[in-house]
């Protein structure tokens, strides 16, 4: 149950940015390790890439693309908030960032199926 003082769009934007950031921190070491297999053990990499064709893994990739795009667009919003001339339209910008993330990850999912 979300606490009352947190129940507003910019707090949800913060939560999404934080959760996506933490999830990417967990994912990226594994991602770089798998990429490093291209140099160290190409056969193992090929075997792993076959595994990524499984629908469940594709769906998980959709989740990753969503987190990545949400973090990227949310980060751009925060940079704009802090460095560009002030605009009071932060709820709109946060909604646009979330919508953009859904659009990008949704396009990825539709291409994958």
């Amino acid at each position: 149950m979300i606490k009352t003082h947190r129940n507003h769009p910019l707090w949800y934007a913060y939560a999404l940015h934080r959760i996506s950031g933490l999830a990417l921190v967990l994912f990226l070491p594994a991602h770089f390790y798998v990429l490093s297999l291209a140099l160290t053990q190409p056969e193992r990499l090929d075997g792993f890439l076959h595994w990524t064709e499984i629908p469940a893994v594709k769906f998980a990739e959709f989740g990753l693309v969503f987190l990545l795009s949400a973090h990227l667009l949310g980060g751009l919003r925060l940079l704009a908030l802090e460095l560009l001339p002030w605009s009071p339209k932060h709820k709109t910008l946060a909604a646009l960032a979330a919508s953009g993330a859904v659009l990008i990850s949704g396009t990825f999912l539709l291409n994958a199926v």
Partner: protein, 282 residues
């Protein structure tokens, strides 16, 4: 004689009656209306359940009171009613009752509010009201929070005036149209109620964080030409616990009862400190 007495008596009666009908009808109606209002205000059939935090900084729990509902009733009215009619030991803080002094802020149904200008109608959850001391501050007793950490941080953020001239110098002429003055004007109506401080999750997670009110004060100083050392202001807000701790959650701006925008002020400080660091080369 008796006949004349009766006639004059009748005249007096009718004149009084006519006066009552003609001139006193409206006031009479007003009195009746007022009586109805008073009756409805004291009508205890409609009640709400008010959970009030009782305890000190070491422990405490909620105590429930049944409080009569009124048509126009602030949360401060409710707390006062409890203290005056149910338990005189209930401690709470208030002064002006008109949203000027900033002393009556409390957590109301989980959100920080200035209780003197928060109508029960707007915050009642069903028929339940939960009143607690301000979040992120130590509790002294019941609904009274210790404001010392809040004001200490105000001082830590440079919340005092460091003049650029002495009494022997001419008064600097500052137009209200100047962009810096216009920017400072957006933040100077802070009443130190600590509602923003209680709403902020960064304050909750980081005890060193100066908080929205203190940083907003620093922003007004940075935009004040009468302040001598702007660099000192930026130095104070760019260190540990400074403006870069802010996660831009926006709860401060959402809950500020005076409609100020501390998130904007903190964003301005972030931008100014980054520019200063780039100019200095790190």
């Amino acid at each position: 004689m008796p006949r004349e007495f009766v006639i004059s008596g009748l005249r007096l009666f009718w004149s009084t009656a006519i006066m009552n009908e003609g001139f006193s009808e409206a006031p009479q109606r007003l009195v009746e209306d007022k009586k109805d209002t008073i009756l409805s205000m004291t009508n205890e059939t409609t009640k709400m359940s008010v959970k009030v935090w009782r305890g000190d900084k070491s422990s405490g729990s909620y105590q429930t009171f049944e409080v009569p509902r009124q048509e126009n009733q602030t949360v401060l009215d409710v707390v006062t009613w409890i203290q005056q009619t149910q338990d005189p030991n209930l401690s709470y803080r208030f002064a002006c009752r008109v949203g000027m002094c900033g002393s009556c802020a409390m957590m109301v149904n989980g959100a920080p509010r200035w209780t003197c200008r928060t109508h029960v109608n707007k915050v009642l959850d069903g028929d339940t009201l939960e009143v607690a001391p301000l979040r992120n501050l130590p509790v002294i007793k019941d609904l009274v929070a210790d404001m010392d950490p809040f004001f200490d941080k105000w001082v830590d953020a440079g919340g005092h005036h460091a003049p650029s001239a002495s009494r022997y110098d001419d008064m600097p002429k500052i137009s209200s149209d100047e962009p810096e003055r216009a920017e400072a004007n957006k933040s100077i109506e802070c009443i130190n109620c600590a509602v923003c401080y209680a709403a902020c999750d960064t304050v909750a997670q980081n005890p060193d964080y100066l908080g929205p009110a203190a940083l907003q004060r620093a922003w007004t100083l940075l935009n004040d030409k009468k302040v001598d050392d702007h660099d000192a202001v930026l130095e104070k807000v760019s260190g540990k616990g400074g403006c870069h701790n802010c996660h831009s959650q926006g709860s401060c701006t959402l809950y500020c009862p005076n409609g100020l925008d501390p998130m904007r002020a903190i964003a301005g400080l972030k931008s100014a400190t980054i520019k200063r660091a780039l100019k200095r080369g790190g």
